[in-house]
């Protein structure tokens, strides 16, 4: 099952590394990363596979919240389905 991770915040060293390590720790596979600076803000979108994750969805979300707090960025995870439903026929 695919999910989209979105990260927004002040740019700093180690954001991508921190998030990838956190995801690897719960066996979430990163499939694609797209990153840019929008209006001075670090903006990243990751496509991840959560099928083999070692914890349920709620906990993945908590792990990312904690990592976001440590890095000073806002991280959100949502299933890919919601975006497909809205933007693809």
């Amino acid at each position: 099952m695919h999910a989209i991770v979105t990260v927004i915040g002040q740019d700093r060293v180690g954001i991508i590394a921190g998030i990838c390590v956190a995801l690897a720790g719960i066996n979430v596979n990163v499939l694609d990363i797209s990153q840019t600076i929008l209006g001075g803000m670090f903006t990243m979108v990751m496509l991840v596979d959560i099928k083999e994750a070692s914890v349920p969805f709620g906990e993945i979300s908590s792990v990312l919240d904690a990592e976001g707090e440590r890095l000073g960025v806002t991280i959100r995870i949502q299933r890919e389905d919601i975006f497909n439903a809205m933007h693809r026929i």
Partner: protein
Amino acid sequence: MIDLKEIFETQHMIDRENLDIRTITMGISLRDCADPDPKRATQKIYDKITRCAERLVPVGEDIEREMGIPIVNKRISVTPMALVADASETEDYVPFALAMDRAAKECGVNFIGGFSALVQKGFTRGDTRLIRSIPEALAVTDYVCSSINVASTRAGINMDAVRLMGEIIKATAARTADRDGLGCAKLVVFCNAVEDNPFMAGAFHGVGEAECVINVGVSGPGVVCHALKDVKGQPIDVVAETVKRTAFKVTRMGQLIAREASTRLGVPFGIVDLSLAPTPAQGDSVARILEEMGLERCGTHGTTAALALLNDAVKKGGVMASSQVGGLSGAFIPVSEDEGMIAAAQAGTLTIDKLEAMTCVCSVGLDMIAVPGDTPAETIAAIIADEAAIGMINNKTTAVRIIPAPGKVVGDMVEMGGLLGTAPVMAVHGESSAEFIQRGGRIPAPLNALRN
């Protein structure tokens, strides 16, 4: 992969424009709960509701978390209680409402609909008993909603029921006078009631429905309003197209959530209701959409036309986005639940007469309107009769949810709390309709009922 712009558009709609799933409503048939012994019947009712809906709230919360979209309400609708309770040997139907209320609390939902009767052509013993129990039932329960269908295009208008409902609404207000007549906010009088409506207070699980279904109501006035800001000054057909496109996106959310909930709960998917439902929150108002189209204030000349366009475009966009569309499907105009409507009513631009005209072109009817506490029962009945006539002649659902707030006069505010909002007390005509209402009887089915 979905591109960045699309991802942020969806998130922006949710974060800033109040996009949400308004309700997941589980419809449950209680037809197998009838029993001559009222105690056994109420026990069966409680047991069946809590069994069927046990997982509704946790599953809803899981979906909410995973999709990242709020599901504001989880609710239950049941078979019109008059049909179930008719078999029981008792005059007092309040215990049936209490059983519904207990079950709703056990399941963690915030409303349960179906303390209802369908009397468009006449009353059974059970119908009369249920209607007589409404004032007490709505006073002693917290979550129970009641609806009575008094008219239909096929049957005409049961004017005896209309008269009775005028009295019952007054009695309900009096019985909940300590809460400004709050009981009336949970009581709807319908013409052409639909069987798969997921929205309260009018939801019930119709007799033609399956054992148990999941119906979903979407929302999104804020999203539509925001989209219209981008087409300021452009021709009105561009407005219609923009509403359509936005409604499509909003409804796709509803379809996704409905499918997901149905799969996880192991309950068939019923319908998605395309209604544009406002809340009292800033930026979640249907009135503000009409104003965005170019009206200085909702209620002024042009409001009915703007609403007709909105209602139609929402349906056209929504119907393509869902495999099964039903319920009320249209724009709602509940005064107390819409920040822009409240402002327009307070300014005196939006009157009951204008609202009545607006109900000709949208779903549903005169909704969440507070009127002075001394409004006679016959005047309320006459308001119901007018709305029922609009529904009957135009083959549409209409409804009246009106609060004659005890002790309040025009200009006062009635505080309902939460999603029910705040209603400014609106003026009604002082001239009497009593003689008309006291005639009773039935308005015959109109010519357009004869379609075979």
